[in-house]
Symmetry: C2
Subunit: 509 residues, 2 copies
Amino acid sequence: MGKYSAVIDMGSNSVRLVIYYEAAGGAVYEVDNIKNTIRLGAFLDENNDITEQGIQEAIRVLRQYRQLCQAREVSAVTGVATAAVRNARNCEAFLEQIYQETGFTLRVLSGEEEAYYGYLAVVNTMNITEALTVDIGGASSELVKISGRKLAESHSFPFGAVTLTRRFFGHFSPTEAEIAAMEEYLRKEFSAYSWIKEKKYPLIGIGGTVRNLGKVHQKMTRYPFPGLHYYQMKKYQVDSVYHYLRELSPAQMQNVEGLSKERADIIVAGISIIKILLEYIGTSKFIISNKGLRDGVYMEARLQARNLPLIEDVVEEGVAMFMANYNVNVLHARHVDSVCRTMFDQLARQGLHIYGEEERRLLSVAARLHDIGRMINLGEWQQHTFYLLMHVLLPGLTHREQLLTALIASYKGAKRLQRLVAPYESLVSEADLQMVEQLGLLLLMARALDRTESQQVSNVKLTREGKCVILRCQGVDERSLEAQTLEEHRKKFKKQFGIPLHVKWAKTP
Amino acid sequence: MGKYSAVIDMGSNSVRLVIYYEAAGGAVYEVDNIKNTIRLGAFLDENNDITEQGIQEAIRVLRQYRQLCQAREVSAVTGVATAAVRNARNCEAFLEQIYQETGFTLRVLSGEEEAYYGYLAVVNTMNITEALTVDIGGASSELVKISGRKLAESHSFPFGAVTLTRRFFGHFSPTEAEIAAMEEYLRKEFSAYSWIKEKKYPLIGIGGTVRNLGKVHQKMTRYPFPGLHYYQMKKYQVDSVYHYLRELSPAQMQNVEGLSKERADIIVAGISIIKILLEYIGTSKFIISNKGLRDGVYMEARLQARNLPLIEDVVEEGVAMFMANYNVNVLHARHVDSVCRTMFDQLARQGLHIYGEEERRLLSVAARLHDIGRMINLGEWQQHTFYLLMHVLLPGLTHREQLLTALIASYKGAKRLQRLVAPYESLVSEADLQMVEQLGLLLLMARALDRTESQQVSNVKLTREGKCVILRCQGVDERSLEAQTLEEHRKKFKKQFGIPLHVKWAKTP
């Protein structure tokens, strides 16, 4: 039996509840995720107290969350609150009243803690060692410098999308002068922190503003990949969304595809933070993280339970999780992976391909997850594997890498590949597809070599002998299911690697 | 922990192993399915003994199956053998040798048993009360008459696709005279069984010949639905595939899309059985079953364990299985279903829709399975629900019904519906889509009414008052998440049902 746990994140713009399911086998996934834009940051009176109306709004929403948690029998709820609550004079009384009326204990995070949790979310879901991150909230923005996967520097700036909008903008679309004043302010704020100036680091964005920026750009460009996490933008693309949005009237804003209606009034101020930051850093590379504060809070507990500071290898962790989640025969999957990598290395030594570590890793991930589609339906399982690998979050992989992995894992032949890849053409090159065909064939061969899923083929050796390549397999003879299945793929070898393949079988060494 | 079990089916044309996984929660699915066309029926000498070569072929394949079973730690293997073994003079010695060399015990089925298992597979996976079934094997064909879901009559005919081909056809494409002789023979055989003549019954086909016929026709017509089980053909469509194939040379046969290369030489004889049967019965309705003998064998054990003669309600059984398989919150799903059906009935009484039992059932299935896509990814879960409902086998539903269920379950709005349904247009009518929009909206409303998944809305009443419909909900007030979520859908009511909706909330009765 699995268990449920939850995180509540009370920000200045919205409150959110995420419920996670942890299966007995270790797999984790979100089962519910609900947001209420109550904009607590706007319920402050002249003394900086959260008003009675604000308190009642917060309690109303938390009571709903309480019901959701009870219905799922959530065993542990971690609640956190950020700048709006932190800065309120009646913070303590507010939290006490929430506890009395809803039973939830919210912990107020310091700016440093906010920064830390955002960092934790990014570093555990992206394959990143050096980067800057910015988490743009309603009333604060946290900047972190990541070096060697460690949090090297951090600072919490006292402005966010809501507070910038209230301070600099009037009621209508911002004027040139308003924009200029805000940008000037931001430049000055950042200039006090010289560690930000890391030209070679990408900037990774976190939070609702960032997600909305990414969604709007994906809609504008009809981006085909079905995911937001790890979406990459160039500086000029951020600028173009910014300039597009700041010209729109509030009414026009309501019709922008991908833009949340509840965020329309604060999005320009939010994006300006990214724009000015990218200028100040001197980088052109912006990456969107769909994981943020609440995921960091959740991960902290999971990591503590395992006595780990960080997930050691983000990609490997994800692969292990999906193998558990989709009931993969792990012995078989690992064997196929090992045979794939052996053949990959041997062919490289023979000069039969030019691929390196990156491709080898994609092949290895594909080899271990190729079977996950079977859980949907054994008929056409390769198609289901492709669908799953395109629609789950494979942490640590860029969209292009995820697509290539999905294509290798579900490879059956050239015609089918063309059909599958058609909607995603803009993400891959001709050379990528050639690589998919070659590595896809290696995977087909490795699967054939363990068709009985019993790991009998103990040794595989590819050598070049004259005008052909010989594959020597130990452990089964030519009457085995392995031999019979491999024969279906043997002839494709010449087309992919330009040289014919012959196979020799030996039951014993 | 789940467990694995397996069925081996040794026929005259092929041997097959299917491995089933039974999860702890009751879900069952196939994890492996492998076929070897060894054509045992052809390894008979002049004394009707299976030859040594035939025996060795069977043992070779079964040894492979043994490895597959060991690798999965299969706990129970049920092996059966049909006509080829049954008719062999050395049947007993053959089985003994198989046991000695592979450890498998194969049970020889009588013709009646063969007929029974085919019947069992059909009646437990289709929503059928009266029908004729024909299971076309290599060396025999079983006919069953189903009345009131019971096996009313059955007979095993001593001919199949392999034996008819050998008896009537020369080495090349069959001549007119050969075809005529075979058809004459079949007519005579059937004419001895007058219970076959049930004009109003559909004929349901089982076995490899039938599956191949269906696949070829699906390819010919570019049929969009991704499933073979419950594929419906008219008599003239069977005839057209038959006439098309009998004109082809063996070389041309190899390029027919959907046709198994190993079956190309016997397919014409196999289809002729269906053609002549349809003529003799006087029905024009032919339905393909993708489930057959081996599934019947597997089901018998499962049903015995539950002390049931048949699965009582095929659709309900499937729904329960998928709820378990995809970790659905069952209390929530059942509550949504109940609210859906209540609203459906109340609106019918007000004359606001014209749908009946059939649509009510689709709505009920959709209501209970609408959440299954969450397991893939909470983001865009409706799209994943649609994908899953289109690609799993929902027993008891026709393709059209399955498509409609998938559309209702994943309904979000008209635009998205158009996009999802586009590839399947040929399966539905304009009226179907209107029904999907109306029932889809009811499902959205019912889900809203249990948004906290805590079944607080205990009573729902829709009444027509003057020029609008009033929805009275008991159990929560207008500040609840239920009320808030329902408001998002309330306005769509007028568009779908032609009359505005107002909602009244009462926390207590």
